[in-house]
């Protein structure tokens, strides 16, 4: 249900039909499985191989030979550890902020609006509305709203909250803000799905047993909505840690806010330093797989989709 919570609001039937063995299964599965093997698995292996490559004999730009140069990883961590730390740091803060923002909203939509299905559906539409407008344009919109001549800085400087000449854009705060905003729907929807199914009689029972509302929330509501919180956390943290739009200088960041994604992009597309880009990608993927496998250990593979 991890990622399923995101797109499937209809609960899966309690008793699935008996699964049969049939050659039809192979016919149905094979095209998709082959496609994913060819365009996901093979490229991944290719990325791993690239990460160990050594510069070519003649030292031409973009020319690399197959090798087992594991020192690539040491060099990459030594050079880019600030970017690696920033990526996971920014993503972690943005995930926590998105959770704090989304939980009350998801609770309102999933519990308070439960008796008004139409209002509930319209409220959900507002949550996913940012998806319908270009990711890049809405980030640029924030850039202009938060810019030095924009309304936010002007007001904050008039109130002397922000000192004269200070910026909001091109700071880590702006990057974290952008990451938070852009991934809020990913956090909100799974939590909503969990809370929407929450049986309110458990909450009532808590009250009947003289638990304070705070205790009932901590001991009943929150644990029952944990699957949604965990899915939302994964769905926010994974794309946020690999994002390079928000941190890019043309958007909300500056050179000193660059994240792993920015380094991978620059090394792959501009510098043609493929081994560096590949080994950074593998490091990013490894860290994320640690999180994901912890999740799988908790809930099993059958619930993944």
């Amino acid at each position: 249900m991890a990622f399923g919570a995101f797109s499937s609001a209809t609960p899966v039937a309690a008793e699935p039909a008996v699964r049969r063995r049939s050659p039809i299964a192979l016919f149905l599965l094979l095209p998709g499985a082959l496609y994913l093997s060819l365009f996901f698995l093979v490229p991944f292996v290719s990325l791993v191989l690239t990460s160990f490559k050594a510069p070519g004999e003649f030292g031409d730009i973009g020319e690399y030979d197959y090798a087992f140069k594991w020192e690539n990883y040491v060099a990459v961590v030594q050079t880019y550890w600030p970017h690696i730390a920033r990526s996971f740091g920014y993503a972690a803060v943005a995930t926590v902020l998105a959770l704090l923002f989304s939980y009350p909203l998801a609770y309102f939509i999933g519990v308070k609006l439960r008796r008004f299905p139409l209002w509930q559906a319209l409220a959900l539409t507002l949550v996913i509305a940012p998806f319908f407008i270009s990711f890049l344009l809405r980030t640029l919109a924030w850039k202009q709203i938060l810019s030095d001549e924009g309304p936010v800085v002007t007001v904050l400087q008039a109130l002397t909250v922000l000192p004269e000449g200070a910026h909001i854009t091109q700071t880590p705060a702006a990057v974290i803000f952008g990451l938070t905003y852009n991934f809020i729907p990913f956090m909100c929807l799974p939590i909503y799905t969990s809370l929407e199914r929450l049986d309110l009689r458990y909450v009532e029972a808590g009250g009947d047993l003289y638990a304070s509302p705070a205790t009932t929330f901590m001991r009943v509501t929150l644990p029952l909505s944990m699957p949604g919180v965990i899915s939302g956390t994964l769905l926010t943290f994974i794309p946020a840690s690999g994002d390079y739009i928000n941190a890019s200088s043309a958007f909300l960041g500056a050179p000193d806010t660059a994240m792993i994604g920015n380094v991978i992009e620059a090394n792959f597309l501009q510098l043609q330093n493929y081994p560096v880009a590949a080994s950074l990608s593998i490091i990013l993927m490894a860290v994320i797989l640690i999180f994901v496998s912890a999740y799988i250990k908790r809930s099993g593979t059958e619930d993944l989709l």
Binding site: F3, G4, S7, P11, V12, A17, R20, A25, L28, L29, P31, G32, Y35, L36, F40, L47, P104, L105, F108, I109, K112, L113, F116, W119, A121, L122, T125, L126, V127, A129, P130, F131, F132, I133, S134, F135, L136, L137, R138, L140, A141, I184, I238, P239, S241, G242, D243, Y244, I245, I264, E265, F268, Y274, A277, S281, M285, I288, T301, L304, L305
Partner: protein, 290 residues
């Protein structure tokens, strides 16, 4: 929109039957706190959207940053900046083809996953799950490394291949839920009435799965249309709409880009709202009939 949510809050408050006060302690926010918070949250979520739409009416030539007055010119002459229109056309082409491919491949896999027993089930599930758990930079760089090794030149075709790849998993997830909620007795009834397997599929299974398949196709289309990161690694010289915005971001984006984004947004949101309202009316009718 805040009015809708506000009305919803008011209705909620009215509908709650008066309860005897059990104990004085309340969680601080009180009865209205959550509703007020939700309205503010919705306003916050909508800020950059409203900004983008408003600036599509800005009377500017090149860099759309400062407000210079209202005009409809950008909406009338969308293709005045030919690159914007060309990029938009490419995005539509990529999204349509990738959606068709991903929906076909993913729907077949979803049916197999729910209906059949087979070996390598866990492996298949992981193969479908991992692309969703992989950051886009890694997916993009991996494919680009592969195309580089294989000597494939990048362009529209490689963008389509990449988009199909990351859409399949989302199709499977969406259609799977629909297959699982399908009552097998309906298909059995068809077989009992001597329908051939093909007839059972096309006359019973497929129409019942169609809402799920359409939802999956719309999701794929949206994901493909707005994808930038994977596209950027695998596009070569080809330009999609998000890629155009990215390259234009440093030198100023023409208002026509806002027009296209706003038009796409309005079409999508109106479609969703109509679907929800009509579903709401149907629900009410069913409730009355029941």
């Amino acid at each position: 929109m805040s009015m809708q949510a506000g009305a919803a809050v008011a209705e909620t408050a009215k509908a709650v039957p008066p309860k005897p006060a059990r104990r004085p302690f309340r969680l601080g926010v009180g009865k209205w706190g959550l509703g007020v918070y939700a309205i503010l949250a919705f306003v916050f979520l909508l800020i950059p959207i409203v900004y983008t739409i408003v600036f599509s009416f800005n009377d500017v030539r090149r860099s759309n940053i400062v407000w210079r007055g209202f005009t409809l010119d950008n909406w009338i002459n969308i293709c005045q900046q030919p690159e914007v229109c060309e990029a938009f056309g490419n995005s539509i082409l990529v999204a349509v083809v990738a959606t068709l491919l991903a929906t076909a491949l993913g729907t077949a896999m979803a049916i197999a996953l729910v209906r059949y027993r087979f070996r390598f089930r866990t492996a298949t599930t992981l193969l479908l799950f991992l692309p969703m758990a992989t950051p886009e930079v890694v997916l993009g760089a991996g494919l680009a490394a592969q195309f580089l090794t294989a000597g494939v030149s990048k362009g529209i075709v490689t963008i389509i291949l990449a988009h199909t790849m990351f859409c399949i998993s989302f199709v499977v997830v969406t259609v799977r839920a629909r297959v699982a909620s399908l009552d097998p007795a309906l298909e059995e009834a068809g077989r009992d009435l001597y329908a051939s397997p093909a007839q059972v599929f096309w006359r019973i299974t497929f129409p019942l799965l169609l809402p799920g398949i359409i939802a999956a196709a719309l999701l794929s289309f949206a994901l493909s249309f707005d994808d930038f990161i994977i596209t950027n690694f695998n596009s070569g010289a080809a330009v999609t709409f998000p890629k155009y915005v990215y390259t234009a971001a440093t030198r100023g984006i023409p208002a026509q880009a806002n027009v296209i984004a706003s038009a796409v947004f309005l079409v999508a949101i109106i479609g969703v709202v109509i679907a929800q309202v009509s579903a709401g009316i149907r629900r009410k009718r069913l409730a009355k009939a029941g």
